[in-house]
């Protein structure tokens, strides 16, 4: 009898444990909090974890709590792939993955499709992955590099008094000499040909902590604008070098990875007036106040330095987590509310996202990011960006509305490039008309 009682207790405990386990959705956090890009990694994943904590504080997603495990990649592709392999099957399997690194994203691109785990690459990675027919498990959400480059030209055109006014102007593309820096070249070349401006390409060798030669060339060329496509120490160095060569910072337009507080504060006065692209409108939002109140006040905040709440990287992390949780919520609507979703089901959620203004308002993030509506054909969901300017203390939006470039031209380039990739990898593109 005693044995039966003990067995019953053990069975009950195991069942309870299983039931608790069944209500947890696992998200691996392949992050980087040390090394050369720690500022980006800690801010982004700090924001994402803060938002997921907030969701849990409010009862999870229809009762399903989010759990995560961090793995330090140091922005190193080899370590990143190792982290992915270590975490992908943990806690019942990963719902999604976000490596925040083009190198790691490339490293696991084929693996995520095999493992049926959706990968988000917010504002980075392969631009042609926006074509969901060829890349069913990759989601370059909000805006890809190509759409960003197109939005840059739109903004510079507006600044000049119209796109036609760019004819005969000189634009320097100062870029990190890597796949990241070269990614927008097809778009910039196409625009240069279409609009008749001169595009001067000047690479900067990694890590970019010495740029006097490049800025002397810029001084010599006397360009109308400089597009700064940098990352890490390259950005502050570029701003300092611009100052020492007397180039006005107001004429420099940075990529969004060159537009955080960590990029401008080290440059001091040299950064004043500098503009960059962004997919978040700088400012404060109800969702950030909620994070302060319900997460940090309860001692559950992820960032040591509370002043980083609402910073560019933190807000970008919050944005990512909003889209992750909305995808899980969407998947639950189809596959069962209050249930733990598989990677494949979450992929469907990502493909059917509709985070419109009304939803953003409900989430306390209205205006913080552009509305996102994805489909089988379009894994990007927006293509919009804004321009922000550093006033010496904080970022301020200088474009009141979201701007987009020539979307039709970019879509054509995306489809051509994706089709090429499909042939190369022997992928049969999905027929979106048959997708549910």
């Amino acid at each position: 009898m005693k044995f039966i009682k003990q067995a019953l207790v053990v069975t009950a405990l195991a069942a309870a444990a299983c039931s608790a386990y069944a209500q947890e959705q696992f998200i691996p956090a392949i992050d980087y909090r040390v090394g050369p890009y720690a500022a980006g990694g800690s801010g982004f994943f700090g924001g994402a974890i803060d938002y997921m904590t907030l969701v849990n504080e409010k009862g999870g997603i229809n009762g399903v709590k989010l759990v995560w495990e961090e793995c330090e990649s140091e922005y190193n592709p080899t370590r990143g792939v190792e982290c992915y392999e270590r975490l992908k099957k943990k806690n019942g399997g990963a719902a999604l993955v976000e490596p925040l690194s083009t190198g790691i994203a490339y490293g696991i691109l084929d693996r995520v499709a095999q493992d049926k785990i959706p990968m988000t690459t917010l504002g980075y990675g392969r631009s042609d992955a926006a074509d969901g027919r060829v890349f069913p498990y990759v989601f370059p959400l909000i805006t890809s590099y190509w759409d960003q480059a197109a939005a840059m030209i739109k903004y510079l055109g507006d600044k000049a008094g119209g796109l036609d006014k760019l004819k005969g102007k000189k634009i320097v593309h100062l870029y990190h000499d890597s796949a990241f820096g070269k990614e927008p070249l097809p778009v910039l070349d196409a625009y240069a040909q279409k609009l008749g401006f001169e595009l001067i390409k000047i690479p900067v060798a990694h890590p970019g902590n010495e740029q006097q030669a490049q800025w002397l060339q810029i001084r010599q060329a006397k360009p109308d604008y400089v597009i700064l496509w940098g990352w890490g120490v390259m950005n502050a160095t570029a701003l300092k070098s611009a100052q020492r060569n007397g180039y006005p910072r107001e004429k420099i337009l940075g990529v969004w990875w060159a537009g955080s507080e960590e990029d401008v504060i080290p440059a001091g006065e040299a950064a004043k007036g500098y503009t960059t692209m962004t997919f978040n409108t700088p400012g404060n939002y109800p969702v950030l106040d909620e994070i302060r109140k319900k997460v940090y006040a309860a001692g559950k905040g992820n960032l040591e330095d509370k002043s980083r709440i609402g910073s560019v990287y933190h807000m970008r992390g919050v944005t990512a987590a909003i889209l992750w949780t909305e995808a899980i919520r969407k998947a639950q609507e189809k596959y069962g509310k209050g249930k733990v979703m598989t990677g494949e089901q979450v992929r469907w959620g990502f493909e059917n996202l509709n985070v419109d203004d009304a939803r953003l308002k409900a989430l306390g993030a209205f205006g913080m990011m552009p509305p996102v509506k994805t489909s089988c054909l379009d894994h990007e969901g927006s293509g919009a960006a804004k321009v922000q300017q550093w006033d010496g203390v904080k970022w301020k939006a200088v474009t009141p509305n979201w701007i987009t470039g020539d979307k039709a031209m970019i879509r054509k380039m995306v489809e051509e490039s994706a089709a090429k990739y499909a042939v190369e990898k022997k992928i049969t593109p999905r027929d979106c008309s048959k997708e549910g």
Partner: protein, 297 residues
Amino acid sequence: MQFFFEVLIAGLLSGVMYSLVALGFVLIYKASGVFNFAQGSMVYFAALTAVGLHDKGLSLWLSVPLTMVVMVVLALLIEKIVLRPLVAQPEISLFMATIGLSFFIEGLAQAIWGANVRALDLGIEDVPLEWVLEKANMAISQFDLIAAGIATVLVATLALFFSRTKIGRALRAVADDHQAALSIGIPLQHIWGIVWSVAGFVALVAGLLWGSRNGVQFALTFVALKALPVLILGGFTSVPGAIVGGLIIGASEKLAEVFLGPYVGGGLEGWFPYVLALLFLLIRPEGLFGEKIIRRI
């Protein structure tokens, strides 16, 4: 022609900044015959400590000397824990130890002060000198000129220290043969402690100048990469060689980037100094000012 000279001057001034980092390598090499892989990490550690103390509310006048004290303590600990057990061991063992040390120092710096990027304002404006800009239409930064001045004073002081002082001569003896130096009564531990402290001081100066220029961040460890070709060119054992090597590397990489770059797609700065250093190695393996070693077989 005016543009050529502008690029040349900018290159020479950049070269001085490389020399500052190269000096730290030379010091350790002179004392132990070992290439100190951890020099870049020491630059980062020193700059982060100085700015970290400054952020805690101390003035720079206080945080910089305090950092120097920290660097001396670090040097003594390195000597006691890492170097002393390796006396008379093959040089490769010492080199491997400095690799480990490099990762340890990087981790320690981030564990103590965090990995955030920080600004450092030394009060020296990094803007072009107006009268040069007006008269010659050249953008010469006053920050670079001051940095060049500091490097020159540092090199002159260290050159005198090595050639005119007892410690300097003892140091050269230690570099030649640890055991022979010990047998004639040269206190090896004492010498290594001093040299690593001086290398710490050089790292602090380099860290402050580079940190003020680009921000105090992990990428400071990469400036060591710029020092390697300087050392190959100038010689691993020569203090003046570090400065001459720096000037040659700085000037040649800038001229190559500006005038050859457009023909090969740019981005030469990353590899051109190494090619140049390699060519020098073929002609003069000991570098311009290095000691020529003749071994009898």
